[in-house]
Subunit: 400 residues, 2 copies
């Protein structure tokens, strides 16, 4: 649904909506057993919920498109992932809980090793230790630029985030990373005159940082890419009239939720604590996004058994989830991460919506195959939000 | 399908198409029986038709969107309901069989009660009797405006329709209804200079009407909203090459059909008469829209049993419907109206298409659940028209 139309059709209600995202939920059958992770796992609570829910499969972004975490989640939050494209620099920044503002342009940085001629001899500076990297970052924070504030934050190993802060900076700035060794880093260039100022600031930063790094053995250079300004997403409260809370352990997901206008509540302890915080803060919010990471982590590791365990562990939390008493409860995934592929994939993702006005169907098990026969069919993940809002009584009729 | 493309691809044929719309067809299972209205009803004729048809479920407007009658029907007639948005005033006008023309701007009117200070004390004038309302409307017809013809028509109780007729009137005119009591009606304002003329005419009408209403006890004021000009819909004959007839008892549906370019044939007596008129006029038209209202009325009343009866009554007309001998027969709904919700809803709607070139499937019963397994899957209602045209041999190949 177009967000302008959504803003027109939404109406206030007392109802509560919970979106529980199992990261990388969808999987694939192992040839030897012909069972996927979901089919292999013993999930009695999820199955019971499935029997009384509308179920289907979501297409996270588009047919054949393997989503990153950004588009995978934004879709479920109701944002057209093609239209609202979050730049790499911004994702890196929100991934370390950096509070981005509207005057910021963020970039992903890599330390690299330069040889005597200034050519890159190692694009990742020998993957230097995170501690050393943090110390170098500390030094880079002393760089001062004429007309922009500089923030530098360590990420892990050779990776860091650079944020330049000044009104009117642009994101159409070319990468300084030549993507190969044996050549020097590139100068940043602005795509148009207005962006040249940003590029000039970037080049000034690189020059001054270079002086500070000159004595380093491995990390005596750096490259920057993915320049991205703060994405001014329509805020979930303005569009849908929802006071929304995010319950996520990892900064990346809290950050994505914050971009959408959700309030990120601290709950480092995992599902048990996420559900406890939801219960405590139940009256303050209309919409709760709960993020469960273990399914994706196991899938990315290619560990089929660990993913089955992660699903079974999640299942033990399902009673706590349903006991919240939401009017609309969705169990969804941001994308598939089949353990067999050890990577994100494009495959449609099981989806379940429980509400008093769900039509229901005859699906018994929450699996890729059975969800195919569900009452929701295969549908774009971006439609989950309007669907939930309809079930929550928060959308007026369209047309007389 | 884009209507420009449709106009290019359509080709003449001798074939006949019938679209039979069961208003509010889709339902929802009662928890105690786990059966929906369709599942509960005994519809042997519909079931027999289902076995030899392509079936599926339509999404009337969009996922999670609850359609009004306007968008629900326009979709089935092949119009993108987002693009062709029919304003409230127009729907009110067609709903009383008023013949709108291209120079008209129509508004929904409410009589209201004003207190001594001119503030609204009752937004619905105590829901005055329709007879009294009609008499007051009669008086308002004497209002003369400089440069526009005035038409006023009673609807029911406190409701009426105002139509101003003059070339170049606009519809972006603000409502005069403040949507609350204790404040005076608002002046109408035009969104741009070109619309200000319309707003000025509206305000002049309101002032002159006010004088005529001054002595009324309850209905001594009025508000106007939903200003809408005649929607110049591409005409069904121009787009699809169809001479189309509408067989509907209620003015609203005849009106919608007329907007699309169908000829509305009088048949006040219901299905028996609708089918008789279709038989009589069979040779004059290529496309027949037949509207059955009782399913929606029962659903809106929240009367599950009445909806079951309405479906069973419809079933007795199915032999008459198939005996027409159309090359393509569709049985569809404009939206769901589950008796459990006593309202229109967003849930997908069972759909059936019978033709000699239907691929068919293995669906035995025309129900929400069984249609899920049909050969058409879940698809947007707006695609029913090109699908029917294909089955009718009225669409050329696209591309060489």
């Amino acid at each position: 649904m177009d967000l302008d139309l959504a803003a027109k059709l939404q109406q206030p209600a007392e109802s509560k909506v919970v979106l529980c995202v199992l990261d990388g939920l969808g999987g694939m059958a192992r040839p030897e057993t012909e069972r996927s992770e979901l089919e292999q796992s013993d999930t009695p609570n999820l199955d019971r919920l499935t029997e009384t829910s509308d179920v289907g499969l979501t297409i996270p972004v588009g047919i054949g498109i393997t989503p990153g975490s950004g588009p995978g989640h934004l879709s479920l939050f109701g944002y057209d992932p093609y239209r609202f494209d979050i730049g790499r620099g911004v994702l890196e920044a929100v991934g370390i809980d950096f509070e981005l503002g509207p005057d910021d342009v963020a970039a992903r940085g890599n330390f690299c090793t330069l040889d005597a001629d200034g050519n890159i001899s190692d694009r990742r500076a020998g993957r230097i230790a995170s501690e050393l990297s943090a110390a170098i970052v500390e030094r880079l924070r002393t760089v001062e630029l004429d007309g922009a504030e500089v923030c530098v934050e360590p990420v892990r190993e050779h990776r860091f985030v650079l944020v330049l802060r000044a009104p009117g900076l642009g994101e159409d700035v070319s990468t300084t990373d030549p993507q190969r060794e044996g050549v020097p880093p590139l100068p940043a260039e602005g795509a148009d005159p207005a962006r040249e100022r940003t590029a000039a600031l970037v080049n000034e930063f690189v020059a001054k940082a270079g002086e500070l790094l000159a004595e380093e053995k491995a990390a005596n250079g750096l490259t920057l890419r993915g320049f991205a300004t703060y994405p001014a997403l329509p805020q979930i409260e303005d569009v849908w009239g929802l006071r929304a809370a995010a319950l996520a352990v990892y900064p990346m997901y809290r950050g994505l939720a914050k971009l959408a206008g959700m309030r990120a509540l601290a709950c480092p302890g995992g599902m048990e604590e996420q559900l406890a915080v939801a219960r405590e803060r139940w009256d303050e919010f209309d919409y709760f996004f709960i993020h469960y990471k273990k399914t994706d982590a196991a899938g990315e590791d290619g560990d089929f058994i660990a993913k089955v365990s992660a699903l079974e562990e999640f299942d033990t939390h399902v009673p706590g989830l349903t006991d919240l008493g939401a009017d609309v409860l969705m169990v969804a995934g941001d994308h598939s991460t089949p353990a067999l592929m050890a990577a994100h994939s494009w495959h449609p993702v099981p989806f379940l919506l429980h509400s008093a006005v769900a039509r229901g169907g005859s699906v018994q098990h929450f699996t890729e195959r059975e969800c195919l026969g569900g009452s929701l069919g295969i549908f774009p993940a971006v439609e989950a939000m309007p669907l939930a809002m309809a079930h929550a009584g928060r959308l007026q009729k369209y047309g007389a």
